[in-house]
Symmetry: C2
Subunit: 163 residues, 2 copies
């Protein structure tokens, strides 16, 4: 799998998403946690291993909870997910990778918003009221991008976004 | 979109499938019609246009029938599909493209069966009883590959296969 293969795969299967919700444990009462993931069938886990090698971060886990529970009775095969949620890894590895190996189509638009959000969070700009407002706005844009036009087979990470 | 981007996209979103069913209009009573397609949201139609440029064949159409009918009321956006079903184009363009720019993971396995089927059909090997048996066997393998482990969001071209 070449880096360009990887970018093409992400256009099809990758998801740049963010959690954004009130949380009293945070100083400004709001928690924003972006992430990047790719989900595939567990028997394509080798592909996810190669993704992790390219990204030099992240982890892979088997999906056997939530909507996946009881997958066998529904005729599904087990799925696996590669995920990066560390802001440092997103900033130092994921965003630079897709700047070197550009995405295309609508996924590129989602990535651009995501990259701006990651930079704002990594730089600590969200630690003042104006900064958190801007970060929430970016999270809203990204959530809307992921949620609208959900298809019968598109990922639903967008629903993690709640405002 | 580079050729390697295109291969990566196909690992995520492409489908190598075949129709295989009894048909009295055919000399040996059986019809086998392979095809290659990629489906995306209609607002990513530009991506499909680029796919068509790489493939130098095929056509793009809007999906507004079958399971897509009434998509708006289900909160879906319109989708579009790129498809190649001409055996000549599959043989002369699609198969050679993915030999030059290899796929990976399970999609590569599906492609290998598909390529063998396309070559058998293009070479006219299915015009004798033994040949049609072999082509039906390949179609069965491909159908099984596409059908098993269907996920909540995987394509359903596999169901075109009926034996």
């Amino acid at each position: 799998m070449t880096p360009d293969n990887m970018a093409g795969l992400v256009v099809g299967e990758g998801c740049f998403y963010t959690e954004s919700r009130p949380d009293g444990k945070y100083r400004l009462g709001w928690r924003i946690r972006p992430g990047f993931c790719i989900e595939m069938r567990n028997d394509d886990r080798d592909v996810l291993e190669q993704v992790r090698e390219h990204m030099r971060c992240g982890s892979i886990y088997t999906l056997d909870f939530g909507r996946y529970r009881g997958y066998e009775s529904r005729g599904w095969k087990p799925h696996a997910k590669y995920r990066v949620s560390s802001i440092r890894d997103l900033h130092n590895e994921v965003v630079p990778f897709f700047r070197r190996h550009p995405l295309f189509g609508r996924k590129k638009e989602a990535f651009d918003v995501f990259a701006e959000l990651v930079e704002a969070l990594y730089g600590g700009k969200h630690r003042c009221p104006q900064g958190i407002d801007n970060a929430r706005h970016l999270a809203e844009l990204l959530g809307a991008h992921n949620a609208r036009g959900r298809s019968p087979r598109s990922p639903v990470e967008g629903r993690l976004f709640s405002n």
